[in-house]
Symmetry: C2
Subunit: 125 residues, 2 copies
């Protein structure tokens, strides 16, 4: 696979882990560094491995299941770093809506790992 | 200045340009590339130089003036790329609030330029 395809596969794995509520897979996808940063929609920014992974565990243990239809996916690759921006079109029991997302990946010995996720609610017109 | 200080100065210049509604300064701060991406709080993601700069022109021509008190500023530098994450504590005529922000910078011939800005409203507890 070329670089962009590899990054897109890592990005898709992130949403697969979320849909499947697979905390082990989610943990593996993130960079093993306390530099990691995660901003869930409407949340303040979370930093560091323990805090970020705890937030995923809480989200995965909550009610409802989330399905994502990902659209408008764009990748920028710059040496050992890449960022994917996209729309997360969310379908769950409670609501539907769109989240604008930025996912920053870094190349590590394990391949491309997530270093930053930022999701923000898109308000209606 | 060391690398981190230079990046923090570029980050501060971004907020200075916003506070001063200085579209020329804002234009200069962004990378000269159609890869640039900007997500204003509550907005869908905007892409490309013309679209992003038009959004700033619209914001700067709107009512009210925005002042930022920036807190919890963290920088990650990785070769030719860096990202700054912070809280924008916003004071304007209409409202106060907090925005979680991610700013991705790339090193260019002009120094560190903004390639991506993502701001999201932090909801109250």
């Amino acid at each position: 696979m070329d670089e962009t395809a590899t990054i897109l596969a890592a990005n898709q794995a992130f949403y697969d882990a979320h849909e499947q509520r697979d905390i082990t897979a989610m943990d593996k996808l993130w960079q093993h560094s306390d530099d990691i940063v995660c901003t869930h929609p409407g949340w303040p920014t979370l930093r560091g491995r323990a805090t970020v992974m705890e937030s995923w565990a809480r989200i995965f243990s909550g009610p409802g299941r989330t399905q994502f239809i990902l659209t408008d996916i764009h990748v920028v690759v710059r040496a050992e770093t890449a960022w994917v921006t996209l729309s997360e079109n969310i379908v769950d029991r409670a609501a539907t809506g769109s989240v604008a997302a930025t996912n920053v990946f870094v190349r590590t010995d394990d391949g491309w790992s997530i270093s930053l996720h930022h999701g923000s609610p898109v308000m209606g017109p």
